[in-house]
């Protein structure tokens, strides 16, 4: 487990979700925490 003792700004990104809507990480700033899950693959 690697809790960050010195938090750094999370790299921003913008991408399309599964419905084709644009998702931008920084849009959540000031509103929600974000849990980013990176998988090997879904299929």
């Amino acid at each position: 487990m690697n809790a960050n003792s010195k938090p750094a700004p999370a790299p921003d990104f913008e991408a399309a979700d599964a419905d084709g809507h644009r998702v931008k990480l920084s849009d959540y700033k000031g509103k929600k925490h974000v849990v980013l899950v990176f998988n090997r693959g879904f299929m």
Partner: protein, 106 residues
């Protein structure tokens, strides 16, 4: 993913959104996402753009990308990161939910 789907309301109840990033192409990814009725945000990342930003590891001998999980707080700060050493090496929901509880107490 099934566990995340089952507990998704626990995450939203802690003012958190879940964004899952997968290596498939957009069409295959969207088909799987809709078939499995995933309730959170899913992003296809076939060019490794987002995964690269967050240093998701690739192991040739383990046939591809390794799992990773990050928590970004509502101030946009990266508060937790975990890079799995095996396909099963991913933090459990209970741990992540407790971390979110701590962030909400700050």
């Amino acid at each position: 993913m099934a566990q995340l789907r089952q507990d998704y309301q626990e995450f939203t109840g802690r003012s958190a959104e879940v964004i899952a990033v997968g290596p498939e192409g957009a069409r295959k990814f969207a088909a799987w996402w809709h078939k499995n009725e995933m309730p959170f945000v899913g992003i296809a990342d076939p060019e490794h753009t987002v995964a690269g930003l967050y240093r998701q590891q690739t192991r040739l001998l383990k046939l591809g990308r390794m799992p990773a999980l990050m928590v970004v707080d509502r101030n946009g700060m990266l508060r937790y990161e975990h890079h799995g050493d095996s396909m099963a090496d991913i933090p459990g929901n209970a741990f992540i939910l407790s971390l979110l509880d701590r962030l909400n107490q700050e």
